[in-house]
C-alpha cells in the first residue's frame, strides 16, 4: 500500500486558538480510515487543510507519488488532482436538478471553454444513471434538488463525490439523517470505494464506525490521540477519558 497523502507537523490557529496542533497523518491507497473525536477536535479543520480551504501556519501536506505539496495549490487544483469532499451539512446546488448536480460533478475537463463547448455524451449519461441507481435517486433525476429530503440530499452529495471519481474521498458525517437501512448502504458504498481509493470518514456515530471495520484515528485538541483498530483505540485510557467516558 503506497502513501497517497501525508501530513506532517501541521499546525493552524485561529485568533490564538490552536485548532490543529502538530498533527501528523498518513493514508495509503487503497485504504479506509475513520476519524473520530469530540466536538472541536479539529476534524473539519483537518479536512479544510487538505482541500485548501484553510492554510496551515506550519507543516507539510504532501500528495501522490511525486509528493507534491498541496499547500501551494488552489482549492480547485486540489480537487482536480483527485481530492473529493462531502460536507457535513449537505451542500448541493438546490436550484438545479439532480441530474445537473451530478453532471457538474462528473469527471471531465474543468476549463471554462471545455465546459462551454461540452457536448453531452452517451457515456456521461450512462455514468449519471449508474450513480443515480447507486444512490437511489433514479426517479428523482429530473427533480430540483432543493425539493429533496435531507437524507436524499446526503445521498446526492455522496453521488457527486462518486461522480468526481477522486483518489481520496473525504466524507464528513455521511450517515447523519439517514435511516438504518440507508446507513448500511452507505457503509457498503464506502467500503467498496475503499477497495480502489483512499477514503477518510469523519463520524460521531460509533456503531457506524464499527460497521466500517477499519483503522481508526482519534483526534483530540488538534492532534492524533490514538490510532489503530476500533477495539484497540477504545481500550486506550486517554481515549476513554476524553471521549468515550463522557
Amino acid at each position: 500500500m503506497k502513501t497517497l497523502l501525508e501530513l506532517s507537523g501541521v499546525s493552524v490557529s485561529f485568533d490564538g486558538f490552536k485548532a490543529i496542533n502538530n498533527l501528523s497523518f498518513r493514508i495509503g491507497e487503497p485504504e479506509l480510515r475513520a476519524i473520530i473525536g469530540p466536538n472541536g477536535a479539529g476534524k473539519t479543520t483537518f479536512m479544510d487543510i487538505i482541500t485548501g480551504k484553510t492554510r496551515p501556519d506550519e507543516g507539510r501536506v504532501l500528495w501522490g507519488e511525486k509528493s507534491v505539496s498541496l499547500l501551494k495549490m488552489s482549492e480547485s487544483q486540489i480537487a482536480r488532482s483527485g481530492v473529493g469532499r462531502k460536507f457535513q451539512k449537505p451542500t448541493v446546488f438546490e436550484a438545479q436538478t439532480v441530474r445537473e448536480n451530478l453532471a457538474m460533478a462528473l469527471k471531465n475537463k474543468r476549463g471554462p471553454f471545455d465546459v462551454l463547448f461540452y457536448n453531452k455524451t452517451r457515456a456521461g449519461a450512462e455514468r449519471i444513471e449508474e450513480i443515480a441507481a447507486e444512490i437511489g435517486l433514479t426517479d428523482q433525476l429530473g427533480r430540483v434538488s432543493g425539493e429533496l429530503s435531507h437524507g436524499q440530499k446526503q445521498w446526492l452529495e455522496i453521488g457527486m463525490l462518486l461522480a468526481q471519481d477522486p483518489r481520496l474521498l473525504l466524507v464528513d458525517e455521511p450517515a447523519a439523517g439517514m435511516t438504518p437501512a440507508e446507513r448500511e448502504h452507505t457503509t457498503d458504498l464506502l467500503r467498496r470505494a475503499a477497495q480502489k481509493h483512499a477514503v477518510v470518514v469523519v463520524e460521531h456515530d460509533m456503531e457506524f464506525v464499527r460497521r466500517l471495520d477499519c483503522k481508526v484515528t482519534v483526534l483530540c485538541e488538534g492532534s492524533v490521540l490514538a490510532e489503530g483498530s476500533l477495539d484497540h483505540v477504545t481500550a486506550n485510557q486517554d481515549v476513554i477519558d476524553v471521549y468515550l467516558g463522557r
Partner: protein, 411 residues
C-alpha cells in the same frame, strides 16, 4: 441545434416576437412604410433594442453568475466612443476634402490631417491628434477597437478583482469606482476625447449625406434588432447546458463549485469579459442613433439604472431582463419627454419630468419586495415552467429529514 430550441422554448418565442416587432416597425416607419411612426421614434426603438441587449448581458453577469456589476455601462459607453471616433474622423475628413477641393494648390495629406484635427479639437482649444486617435482613420481598425477596448478593460479589471476574491457588495463598489474613474478621466480635455463636449454628430454617416435620416434610422433599427437577436442567442446558449449549470452554481455557492474542481475565478472572468464585449457592441450601435456621446453617459448612475431594469424585468431569465430594459426605458422617455400628462391635485401639480425618478424608485422597491421575479414572472402564469427556481433554500423538512438519535435504531 434543434434540441437547443426544444430545451429553451423561450428563445424561439423571443426571436419570433423580435421578428414581429421588426416587421411592424418596418411597415410603419417613414422610410419603408406608411410613416405612421416618426423618424425620431424609430430611433428611440432602435436605441431601446441596444439597451435590451446590454440588459441581457447584465442579466448573465448578475442574474446567472451572481456578480452585481455596477459598471457595465462603462463598456457600453466605451463601445460608443470607439465607433464615434471613426464617425467623427471620417465625416470631418470628407467635409475638409470638399472645402479644400477648389483651393489653388491641392492640399497635402498632412494638411488635410491637420485640418481635421483643427476641426475636431478646436472646441477644446487644441489641434493635435492625441495618440488615442491613431486608428480613427480606418473603419476596420476602429471596429476592432469597439471589441478590444471594452474587452481588455473588462479582462484586466476582472482579473484583478476576481483573483483577489472580491465578491458581493465590495465588488459592486469596485465596479462603481471603475466607471466613475473612467467618466472623470474622460471629462478632462487632456484625455483626448473632447472632454465634456464628447463626440457629436454621430448620426451623420460619412459619405451618406444624401441618405435621409429616416432611412438611416430604419437601417440602424434593423442592425440593432439583428444584434439583439444574435446576442440573445449567444447568451441563451452560454447559460444553457453545463456552462449555465456551473455559473448558477457559482452564484449560489461558489466555494462548493471550487471543491468540485472548477476554477471559479476563470469562469467569472470569462462571463465578465464576454458580457463586457457585448455591451461595447451594443453601445457602438446605440450612439450613432443617439447622435452624441459624452462622459456623463458612463457616470455611475447609468450602470445603476441598468441593474434596476434587470431587477424590474426579472433576474435569472434573459427575456425578463430584455423586457425590463424596454419597458422602463420607454416609460422613462415617455415620462421625462413630456408625454405623460401632469396630474393636478388641486394643491399640487405632479410634474412627471420631476417625479418620474421617484416613481421609478418606488417601483424598484415594490418589485424587490413584492414581486422578486419581476415582469418576467408574468410568463410563469402561462407556462408554469420555472426556468430558474427563484428560491435556493430548503423547501421545508419532510419525513426524510427526520433524524433519530445517532446510532439508535428507528422505532
Amino acid at each position: 441545434m434543434t434540441s437547443f430550441f426544444a430545451q429553451n422554448k423561450s428563445v424561439a418565442w423571443f426571436l419570433l416576437a423580435l421578428a414581429l416587432l421588426v416587421l411592424l416597425v418596418t411597415v410603419l416607419a417613414p422610410a419603408t412604410g406608411t410613416g405612421f411612426l416618426s423618424t425620431s421614434f424609430v430611433k428611440t426603438l432602435g436605441k431601446t433594442l441596444c439597451l435590451m441587449l446590454v440588459a441581457v448581458a447584465m442579466d448573465v453577469v448578475w442574474g446567472y453568475t451572481g456578480i452585481l456589476s455596477l459598471g457595465h455601462m462603462a463598456f457600453f459607453g466605451l463601445g460608443g466612443y470607439m465607433i464615434g471616433m471613426w464617425l467623427m474622423y471620417a465625416r470631418t475628413e470628407l467635409i475638409i476634402a470638399e472645402s479644400l477641393r477648389n483651393a489653388p494648390i491641392p492640399p497635402t495629406p498632412e494638411e488635410i490631417h491637420d485640418a481635421i484635427g483643427q476641426q475636431i479639437f478646436g472646441v477644446v482649444g487644441s489641434a493635435d491628434f492625441p495618440w488615442l486617435w491613431g486608428f480613427a482613420h480606418s473603419f476596420p481598425l476602429q471596429l476592432a477597437m469597439v471589441v478590444l477596448v471594452p474587452g481588455i478593460l473588462a479582462l484586466v479589471f476582472g482579473w484583478l478583482a476576481f483573483r483577489s476574491r472580491v465578491t458581493g457588495v465590495y465588488l459592486s463598489i469596485l465596479t462603481q469606482a471603475m466607471t466613475l474613474a473612467l467618466s472623470l478621466y474622460l471629462f478632462q480635455n487632456e484625455a483626448g476625447l473632447r472632454g465634456n463636449n464628447g463626440l457629436s454628430g454621430l448620426q451623420n454617416l460619412p459619405g451618406l449625406d444624401a441618405v435621409p435620416q429616416a432611412t438611416i434610422s430604419i437601417w440602424f433599427f434593423w442592425g440593432s434588432a439583428a444584434a439583439l437577436g444574435l446576442g440573445y442567442l449567444l447568451f441563451a446558449w452560454v447559460v444553457s447546458g453545463k456552462m449555465g449549470s456551473v455559473i448558477r452554481g457559482i452564484r449560489d455557492n461558489e466555494n462548493r463549485v471550487r471543491f468540485l474542481g472548477y476554477h471559479v475565478e476563470s469562469y467569472k472572468l470569462f462571463i465578465f469579459t464576454l458580457t463586457g464585449i457585448v455591451s461595447g457592441l451594443a453601445g457602438a450601435l446605440y450612439y450613432p442613433q443617439a447622435g452624441i456621446i459624452n462622459p456623463a453617459e458612463i457616470a455611475p448612475i447609468a450602470s445603476i439604472y441598468l441593474a434596476v431594469w434587470v431587477a424590474i424585468g426579472g433576474r435569472g431569465r434573459l427575456y425578463g431582463a430584455a423586457l425590463g430594459a424596454a419597458v422602463v426605458s420607454l416609460l422613462s422617455s415617455w415620462f421625462t419627454g413630456g408625454g405623460a400628462p401632469n396630474v393636478n391635485l388641486g394643491f399640487y401639480t405632479i410634474n412627471w419630468t420631476d417625479w418620474w425618478l421617484v416613481l421609478l424608485g418606488l417601483s424598484f422597491v415594490a418589485v424587490t419586495l413584492l414581486a422578486p421575479k419581476g415582469i418576467g414572472g408574468i410568463f410563469d402564469l402561462f407556462t408554469r415552467h420555472h426556468p430558474v427556481p427563484e428560491r435556493v433554500g430548503d423547501f421545508g423538512p419532510d419525513m426524510g429529514a427526520h433524524r433519530t438519535v445517532e446510532g439508535e435504531e428507528e422505532k
